[in-house]
Symmetry: C2
DNA sequence: CGTCGACTTGACTAAAATCAAACCCGGTGG
DNA sequence: CCACCGGGTTTGATTTTAGTCAAGTCGACG
């Protein structure tokens, strides 16, 4: 599954419909019956290609559409007045983003492709309108917004950890779960983002991120080579998530419990 | 219970309707015409009293209702497996909370009254159902969910600040704005939460919070006595928000530097 | 007036930021 | 094929910052 060598056949299939999309169950269409899906299908601009570094929207832009990464990953970032940027989130295929404008009508952050990618684009106004007519879509839209809030929520949980290694472990854990959800191996994946971006996401210096990775490596919990990551001991990773004391506790308990 | 002296007249007025509520413009009814408001009115359990420390819901509870603080403040907290708690947010009168269950159908955090308070309670299922019939309510519901996400967003921004004093300044700034929005003076207010709770919100030790307040006090930016806060120099507070270098820059710009 | 809890302050310690230097690897061009 | 970039990454030494532990202080309330 390298970057798309887009044959005409592929192209045709790509534009087909949400119903045929491999991500459908993770995306907005989940739980919407095939009949109603047609309505949704009509409004989606499907699988538009986006080059690495391209911005889908900028802070201040009026709410136009929400997006689903269909191939490749994105980041959403806020740039503070002082110029430094914080990465609010990373968005893997099947994940919806761009909802940050729903509150005020204007985007608060900008969305950037981390690699050459594709997005599906849904004009928000039409989406909301159709949702008013299709209860199943409304339900799903609310759920998706909720899930998006849950992800922010997760980030808060990460950032509230004091120890750098906890944040990093939690970050890897989260990525692993999310990769697994989209049908890719959760134990081995390659990071679409740089150490610096991870740092800007976790509120850590990039060196600290690197050291964290190295530390987890030394401890035999993960294997890292550049952006390639393999999780060797998921349980231990989870333990790191709970802080080092918890880690100790686990080590102690190792004799007694499975 | 024994909160404010509730005369029969008050009681009658309190139960009246959303249309008459002083918070209506901040709350769900905003932008909904009077006719439709009746529909909403029917489902709201209005101004139920809640004692300090009471929980409106716990983590794991199924999504039943969303809440609006109508009097007094609340906090939402997540308790990690290791027992420590993090305060996700504080909720002032007119602010809606409890949406954290929309994504999964179960609450991820618990909501606790910080003081004797009152809440309006909206059964979520009915709300969603009525929203399907009233486009204006649907729009408003989406907007309110978006605003709630924006607040999470703000918290992320706070937590991503490295300097403790930046976090604290941003926190006070935010509170000030929010108090102003609900028609209370933004320059002088009293904190409904303890230093410890602020710490658990900002990811800081309570001592650090206290020191931060003291520092801002010394610098003549705020006045603090216990939970009473007055903002003396809003501009300087804003500067603190941007980090100490920005602060320095401002000091220099003041005309004359040592 | 004494007690208790919340808050402040101080001294010390642990952790991460910063500064600075190597290192590794994919790509380029000789 | 190999030398040589250059970005991203790792690692080391030092400094800064916030956490921790431990006294005190303040203030509300019985």
């Amino acid at each position: 599954m390298s970057t798309p060598s887009v044959s005409p056949i592929d192209l045709a299939r790509l534009r087909r419909s949400c119903a045929d999309c491999s991500l459908a169950q993770l995306c907005l269409p989940a739980g919407i019956d095939r009949g109603d899906l047609g309505r949704l299908d009509e409004l989606v601009k499907k699988r538009r290609p986006v080059a690495r570094g391209d911005r889908l929207y900028r802070a201040g832009d009026p709410l136009g559409a929400v997006f689903v990464a269909s191939e490749g990953s994105f980041k959403t970032v806020v740039v503070s007045e002082s110029g430094e940027e914080h990465v609010l989130g990373f968005h893997l295929p099947g994940e919806l983003f761009g909802l940050d404008a729903v509150g005020t009508g204007r985007h608060r952050c900008e969305a950037v492709a981390l690699e050459d990618a594709r997005v599906c684009e849904l004009p928000f106004a039409s989406l909301a309108q159709v949702a008013g007519q299709l209860p199943s879509l409304q339900r799903q839209l609310l759920r998706v917004m909720g899930q998006s809030a849950d992800r922010d929520h997760d980030l808060v949980e990460v950032l509230s950890r004091r120890q750098a290694c906890e944040r990093i472990a939690l970050f890897l854990q989260g990525l692993s779960d999310r990769y697994r959800r989209i049908g890719q191996p959760g134990e081995e994946f390659s990071l679409p983002m740089s150490r610096e971006e991870i740092g800007r996401h976790l509120g850590l210096a990039l060196e600290t991120v690197s050291r964290g990775f190295s530390r987890l490596h030394e401890d035999g919990i993960i294997e890292v080579r550049g952006r390639r990551v393999r999780i060797l001991d998921p349980q231990a990773l989870r333990a790191q998530t709970q802080g080092c004391e918890a880690d100790m506790a686990r080590a102690r308990a190792r004799g007694g419990r499975a």
